[in-house]
Amino acid sequence: MIPELGHFALALALALAVCQGVLPLVGAHKNDAALMSIARPAAVGQFVFVAFAFACLATAFLGNDFSVLYVARNSQLALPAIYKFSAVWGAHEGSLLLWTFILGAWTVAVGRYSRELPVPFAARVLGVLGLLSCGFLLFMLLTSNPFERVFPAHPDGSDLNPLLQDPGLAYHPPILYTGYVGFAVAFAFAVAAMLSGDLDRTWARWTRPWTTWAWAFLSVGIALGSWWSYYELGWGGWWFWDPVENASFMPWLVGTALIHSLAVTERRGLFKSWTLLLAIAAFSLSLLGTFLVRSGILVSVHAFATDPARGLFILVFLGVVIGSALALYAWRAHTLDSDAGFRPLSRETFLLLNNVLLVIAAALVLFGTLSPLAVQWTTGEKISVGPPWFDVAFALPMIPLVFLLGAGMHAAWRYQPAAGLGRLLKWPALVALVAGIALPLFVYGRATGLVVVGSVAAFWILAASLVQPLRSWRRAPGTPGISRSVAGMSIAHFGVGMFVLGVTVVSAFGVEEDLRVAPGDSVEVGGYTFELRGLENVEGPNYRALEAEVEIRRDGEFVGTVRPQERTYLVQQNPMTEAGIEPGWNRDLFVALGQPLGDGAWSVRVQYKPLIRFIWFGAVVMALGGIVAASDRRYRVNVAARERQPVAAEEPA
């Protein structure tokens, strides 16, 4: 009964989404207040029904209702309850439901916080979001119904993929999707602005906090995914340029360009049509990512079992969304001229370069991701593109970007005298050179080529990000302190510096060795001694495992004990490696069991990963900076009050 209620709720949600998608848009066009006022209640109703469906599916999972096909395929009696709950989005149908649920949540939030916007504009935004919901609900009801029954019911379920039996499944997809789907809001604002033809600077001010929040969630989501794959899937790697990783990374790159170009549009009224295009592109790339994951046309660890009908639906949906947005853009964009100007040395120029470089990076990642498909369609050859190519292609635009960043964040709008910028950046430059060479040379014992470039770049950003906070701290009493915009920018860029430092050090000085180890043997990796003390059998709730005890010492001194496991899940009989990790702020020590080699010996992967945690903490700090900036006062005061006192425009953003 409960699954049928869930299914019915989805159908009702679709009906409400149609109302939400069509009536307010018609109302805004005809200036009919009654039709426009339907937007908010319809959005709330749609969300309530999707949430109800979600609860129904969760109930089916927790109640072991194996007469539901999706539950039977992705759960099992002995599965721990937490994994039963996160298994709701562990495969295709449920993750689509999660996607729709999150879109609904964003829509309700937009409805709640858009009361000070002009009524037709808010109606259009909610209408566009409603149309997007229609697309996803239709997709679910037509091709991917999570509530489909199976007769006879499976007696006790065929279990969740062991890889997904990890807390990572509970937090990574929801946060990632919140970011992904959040770009739908920026997209809806852009489309609403183009529909109304009213593209003044206030549009950018309304969009900016939403976009920044979505971007922050996406940053954290990607970082969590990287961390998860590091300890669970990747044998200690943190990024593989897998097509699905790229699918989330491309919207991030374009989204990063978007939040910077929105700054220019909001402050100076420039780059308007470019900003619109980026808003369309960021969401289109999110949809493209969905298409790549669902259709299974690319070889990827994330590929779900494939179904051509699903791929086709998403492709058509993608075509309709992107096609109509671009058609609207072509119709409206030429009206967006601006008379404002700027000098070659100014914040505007730096942000322009930021955008150019980020878009080039995104284009290269897109090229590398899709080229195997293009080659296969044109020549029939099956090729793949290796991570080394992505490393090179991505570093090319990023190296100039990180060096420009340090100067750009201190440049004034319109015109920045070179002498002033030079004076301000003298100290950060000195710090960057000294620390950037000293760290690799004295701590890690080698300072060559790219290592120095990376480490100088990292310290350059770290030092440059501290300039504004330090000045605010040492300011004369009575003068105003740093605004949240500037604080957020400084924090986010500090995070970029941490990230660059982590990537540089772990790529240059990380050690990874595959070794043959028998109980009692010791091996030495990265200055640490790893001793295999013994192996024993242990039992989990739904798996058996062989657990190794490995003691780690450095110069004879005890550092820690790790217990990597080789698990066999009982239902699917799948083996899974659980790595043993001894974490630290400045290094991780990583041990994973491979295969038995005979005579009691095992192949073992042992790794020393210096500063690897800076990569993920850097991303979290970036997101934190975004949230601080998005909470700036000027996004909260109401429109009327802002028009009376336009003071906020003096501070840089």
Partner: protein, 155 residues
Amino acid sequence: MKPRHQRLLAIGLAAAGLAVATALTLRAFRDNMMFYVEISDVVAGNVPENRNFRVGGMVVEGSVRHPPGGIDVAFTLTDYAHQLPVVYSGILPDLFREGQGIVAHGHLDENGTFVADTVLAKHDENYMPPEVADSLKRHAAEKTGAAGPAGDGAQ
């Protein structure tokens, strides 16, 4: 700067950046592009010269051996028409098993043995890399009557 100059500057910078990036990355692209070669072609010697390529197939039952002393592993891959001996030094993925479809990256040595530097087995037992499924299906179809195992492997 006036809007027209801004636009020219933007376009100029973008074009210059793209040109440099394209030139450099296309070069790197050629070096990093790996072709998929069918086992039958590998056995016949039709492989790309002096560069790595990918092969895919089923691991033959009972073919996995660990020579004593190291962490090397040797096994045989088949597309049900031909067999290819493979050696690999390192840790195999969790789902590497006899009778399972895998993909390997590497090159051919002078004895006709494939020296793999990466072995991939997907983390979903129902999932088969599309290129492997393709070639298995084709060879199974050629050998009508003996098509048994490839049928369910290619689903």
